[in-house]
Each structure stands twice: as C-alpha cells, then as structure tokens.
C-alpha cells in the first residue's frame, strides 16, 4: 500500500480524467438530457432566489446594525407583500412543475419496446435475461478482493467493473423489467437517467434509448445488505449490427453450453478436481456470507465448518437440497439456476471436505441432477 500522504497526489492525477465531475451527468439519452436540463433550471432558479433573499438579509445585517446607530422601525405587518411572496414562489413552482410533468410522463411510457430485458437483483449480483432470446446470465463485481482490502493498487474502474456486462443496442427502445429475488435493490445507470427499484415479487418497468455506443456504469442504489456497495452495473451499448452479432453468438454459445452440461452428467470427477473447482466457486459465490473460512457471521450467516449439515452423512441429501433450492424465508438463495450441476457438485463436495469437515464424501453432477428431478 502506498503511504497515506501519497493519496491526495494520486487523486489529483485522476482528477484530470474525463470521468470525474461535480455535476449531474448529461447522459446519453434524450430523457437523461431532459432531466439534466430540469436539474440545471431548478438549480439556477434556486440560486436566483437565494441571491435575492440572502442579499436582502446581508444588506439588512450590514445597514441595519444597532452599532450604526439605528432606531428599529415599528412595522410588523403588511398583507400586500405577504400575498406577493406567497404568490410568486407558487407561480415559480407551477412553472417548474409543467416541464417536470412532461418529462415524467415520457419516462413512464414503456410501450412499444424493441428489446425487453428482465433485470433481477439478488444479494449481491444482477441477473439479466433477454426476452425472446435464449440468453441470460449473472453479472457480478469483478474487482479483486485484494484491491478492496488495500493490498493491491486500485484500478481505474475500482468497484465499477463486472464479469458479464449487460449488452444493449443503440437507437432502439429497450424496456427493463426490474425485479428481485430477495431484498429490494435498485437498478441505476446515471447516463440513462434510469433508476428503478427491484422489488421482490413485483416487476417495475423502465426504458431507455441510447444514442451512442459506449460503456456506461452504475450501481445498486438501494441498501440491500452487507455488500450493497459492491453491486455495480456495467452496460455496453453496441450499434444494432454489432448487437445483433453479439446476441446471436451468445445465444449459440449458451445453448451449446447447456447441451454440454447434459452430456457431462455421466462424467465422474476426481476428488482433487472437485475440490479445486469447489474452492473457486465457493470463494466467488458463497464466501460473501459464509466467509472464506466457513465460519459464517455469528447471528447472521451460519457457519459451515463443523456444522451438522455439512458433516453428517445422513444429512447429505439435505445439504444438496439447501444449496440447490435455497431455504425459504432466509437469505439462503437457490443456486440451481446460478451454477452448473458440475459446479454445484463441486461446491457441495468442497463444503464437506474443507476446514476440517473431512467427511471424504464426494458428490457428482449426476447426484445433483437426481436431486433436482425429484
């Protein structure tokens, strides 16, 4: 880690980069520019009112001081000015409300979309599903843990980079169906002026039409638990042609991958392979709650090290069930859709053999498949 005093220097260097700004972004959509204009208008109006009000106040503070030998005036009422300064702010506000209403109605009109994407938040990642296409994937924070814990230098897009960004076409109306698997999240990309809460059990709609290709970053904007700060959003906007190419390729890949998984079901993996794969999956998927050492967080997330489910042989089925289907009414998610059967098998095996849980038991993809089809 760099010494503390070096930090300000580092940041003033980064201050020169384009990304840094002190004002709202103008964004890359018509709506976001409307919003920016509204923001600037109301800001200037407030400035003017402020200058007038504070100006009069300071004038009074300077000119009407007792030390300048003033006798206080006696007036303390004047219905006319009172009506005046009730009406003027009212009219200003009406003036503001009109463009705001127009923009708002525009923002909420999600009809006639070209592309529809279901966005699902869950602790602490996003899942994107393209409607009418066989494409869906999870999108997780890609920043290394070592950067967060200050062991490595922070990269330029620290905390704002993901493994699988969302890809969207430019110039087309994209509709988002925003929902959640667990708590409330909020899907926010400033450049589109889109922020919609992801409410579990409900779908909220939002839309955008991006002008130019580029990479746009955002973050989860609703407190969603421990790693709320580590749930970024990255959108890559491509021209419609590039987008079409991308989606066709990805769809083909995903279909092929699913078929491969089916074939792999009969394959047995060795303990070493299972453990190696399991450790990787565990650290990227489970460790946020159950901790890398399997100790959990007392009172919040149960420990796996030494726990009955992960050590007793007659609880093996239950162990698989918990990982595959989650536990209703708790923070334990269902991982059936998030991991492949091989990965599920590996992670269960890992949990039964790591941190002193030396059961020696192995779980294979076929076992998972059996459990899923029960």
């Amino acid at each position: 880690m760099k010494p503390l005093w070096a930090l300000p220097l580092l940041y003033s260097a980064s201050a020169l980069s384009q990304e840094r700004s002190l004002n709202l972004t103008q964004g890359v959509t018509e709506i976001s520019r409307d919003v920016y204009d509204l923001h600037m208008t109301i800001f200037y109006i407030c400035c003017v009112i402020g200058v007038v009000v504070f100006g009069l106040m300071f004038y009074s503070m300077i000119r009407h001081r007792k030390s300048s030998g003033r006798e206080p005036a006696k007036f303390h009422e004047n219905v006319k000015v009172e009506i005046l300064w009730t009406l003027i702010p009212f009219l200003i506000l009406v003036g503001m409300a009109i463009p705001a209403t127009i923009t708002l109605i525009d923002m909420e009109d999600t009809s006639d979309a070209d592309v529809t994407i279901q966005v699902t938040g869950s602790q602490w990642k996003w899942h994107y599903k393209y409607f009418d296409r066989e494409v869906s994937f999870f999108s997780r924070l890609a920043t290394q843990q070592e950067q967060i814990s200050n062991k490595f230098d922070k990269s330029e897009n620290y905390l704002r980079e993901v493994d699988n960004p969302l890809v969207l076409p430019t110039g087309q109306k994209v509709r988002f169906l925003v929902t959640s698997d667990d708590v409330i999240h909020s899907w926010w990309v400033p450049a589109f002026a889109v922020k919609k809460d992801a409410n579990p059990g409900f779908i909220n709609e939002a839309w955008t039409r991006i002008d130019e290709p580029g990479i746009y970053r955002g973050q989860c904007a609703e407190l969603c638990g421990k790693d709320h700060g580590f749930m970024p959003i990255v959108v890559i906007a491509k021209t419609p042609e590039d987008y079409a190419k991308w989606i066709d390729e990805t769809e083909a890949e995903q279909i092929a991958e699913r078929e491969r998984q089916q074939e792999l079901l009969d394959m047995e993996m060795s303990m070493d392979e299972l453990m190696a794969m399991g450790e990787k999956i565990y650290n990227s998927t489970c460790a946020a709650c159950h901790q890398p050492n399997g100790q959990g967080i007392p009172g919040t997330f149960p420990a796996l090290a030494g726990s009955a489910v992960a050590t007793e042989s007659d609880k093996l089925d239950q162990h698989i069930d918990v990982v595959v289907n989650g536990v209703q009414g708790t923070a334990m998610q269902a991982f059936a859709q998030q991991l492949t059967m091989q990965e599920l098998a590996a992670v269960v095996t890992y949990e039964r053999n790591a941190w002193g849980n030396d059961t020696g038991e192995m779980v294979q993809a076929a076992d998972i498949n059996a459990a899923m089809n029960e």
Binding site: E108, Q118, L177, T179, G201, F202, I203, E205
Partner: protein, 291 residues
C-alpha cells in the same frame, strides 16, 4: 383557559420511574421472548417480561392509590380535571391512529397489492411473468405463493359479537347516566352488565379463533388476508381486555363508594375508552368481515 384556581402540582413521586423500569423490562423481555421462542435458544426473556408486567402492575396500583387519595382529599382542581379529560381524548386519538395503520395495511393489500400481483395498473408484467397462475380476489383464499385458506363469514359469531358490543356500549352509557343522576343501583347494575358482555365477547372471540385455526385453516401464516384479520381483531381484542379490566376496577371503586355525580374522571375515561373500542369494532366488522 379555565378559571384560575391554584393549580395542584403533585409532589415528587416514585411511580413514573418505576413505570419506566417496567416498560424497559417488558421491552427487553418481550424482544428476547420472541427471539428465544422462534429459535432454539434458552434465556431469560420470558422471566424478564413477566417481571416487567409485575412492575407495571405494582406501579399502577401505587400510582392510582396516590391519585385516588388526592382526589378524595379534594386536591384536584377543576382545571386538572380538564387536563385529564383532554389528555385522555388525545390518548384515544393516538389509538385511533394506531388502528389506522392496520386498516391502512388492509386497504393497501386489498385494493392495491393483490390486484397488482394479478397484473392490474402498471403491473401487467408482474402478473404475466411472476405470478401467471394467480387470480386476484378478496378474501384472498389462495395466495400467489399457493397457500390456501377459507374466508371468515360475517354472520354467526361475528354478528353476535357485534350485537354484544353495541349493547354493552348502551349499558355503559346507562351506567354513566346512573352515576350522574346519583342512582347507584343503576350504576352498579349496568356496569356489571357491561363487564359481563365484555367477557362474553372475549370468550366468543377466542372461540372464533379456534374455529378459524382448526376448521378454516385460517392462520397467521395463511397470507395477507389472515394477517390483517388477526392483527386487527387481535389488537382490538387486547383493547377489549384492557377495557374490561378498567371496567372491573371501576366497579370495585363504585362498590367502595368512590365517584360523585360531579367528579368521576376515571369512570368517564373508562367509558370513553369502552365506546372507542366499540366504534373500532364496528369499523372492523364492516370492513374486515362484511365487505
């Protein structure tokens, strides 16, 4: 602005802080009781809870003893009497708002949440994508998650209970009239009748819960219909219990010869409370059961 008599500022008293201690113990105890009863941990929760309730009971006895002694010694001015009455009215207003929260929840669940889950308003996709099988209805006998239950009818027990409470409001009123006209016989008779009606109500309410749980499968876990039903009727039942206890204390005081036709704030407050509880029930009956 009442006419100015010399105002009675009570001397320092131990009871408020005892009351605070009692509430503190109840809060801590209740929290830990809840935690312990829903996980397999053991602890002091329920003991502390009961200790807290004990402390509150002691506090009430002590506080009211002082209070009654002061009234009997004529220390309380008319102005103080007015303060008590206003205080009680505002307290009842706060209770109205407490129930309003639950009525609000019922309104929202019924008029907004449930229809939206079936795709109403701007939630078309909610219904289509997330809950394709779900059909909005009220009472919500099948939840989006698939839990089923049966609705509680309004005739039968609830109707009888409504009648009981309305009659009890009337008897309570006549007890008050008796007090004001100094007809002590009417007072004791009508008051006792009110108490008996209150107790019958509570008994029947209990029977209704048993019926709901055992025959209708309507439980706390059976979705938002059951939730609003139990929370509203449950909190109402707790208020009836409290009101009945207050009436019983009033009866005991009446039997001891307390209260005059002019001065009987405690009695009046109790009767206001009772009427308030009845009004809540009538709203409840109409909104929860009938509609």
């Amino acid at each position: 602005m009442a006419e100015q008599q010399s105002y009675y500022v009570p001397p320092s008293s131990i009871w408020p802080i005892v009351g605070a201690l009692g509430l503190g113990l109840i809060a801590w105890g209740a929290a830990h009781t809840v935690i312990e009863s829903t996980s397999d941990t053991q602890g002091w929760g329920s003991h502390v809870l009961f200790a807290g309730i004990g402390v509150i009971v002691v506090m009430l006895f002590g506080w009211f003893r002082d209070q009654i002694n002061e009234t009997m010694n004529g220390l309380h001015s008319d102005q103080l009497e007015t303060s008590y009455k206003q205080g009680m009215s505002w307290f009842i207003f706060s209770e109205v708002m407490f129930f309003a929260a639950f009525f609000g929840a019922l309104f929202y669940a019924r008029m907004i949440a449930v229809p939206w889950l079936d795709g109403a308003s701007n939630n078309v996709m909610t219904g289509e994508v997330l809950w394709p099988e779900f059909v909005a209805q009220w009472p919500l006998v099948e939840t989006p998650g698939g839990t089923t239950t049966q609705a509680m009818g309004w005739y039968g027990l609830p109707l009888i209970n409504t009648a009981i409470l309305i009659v009890s409001s009337v008897t309570c009123h006549f007890a008050h009239v008796g007090l004001e006209k100094n007809k002590r016989g009417q007072l004791t008779g009508m008051l006792s009748l009110t108490i008996i009606l209150g107790l019958i109500f509570l008994y029947l309410q209990g029977a209704e819960y048993v019926h709901a749980y055992e025959e209708l499968g309507l439980t706390l876990q059976s979705g938002v219909y059951g939730n609003t039903f139990y929370l509203l009727t449950g909190f109402h039942g707790m208020h009836v219990t409290l009101g009945t206890l207050m009436l019983i204390i009033m009866l005991l005081r009446v039997l001891k010869g307390h209260f005059t036709p002019e001065k009987h704030f405690a009695f009046q407050a109790t009767s206001w409370y009772w009427h308030f509880v009845d009004v809540v029930w009538i709203c409840l009956f109409v909104i929860v059961y009938v509609l």
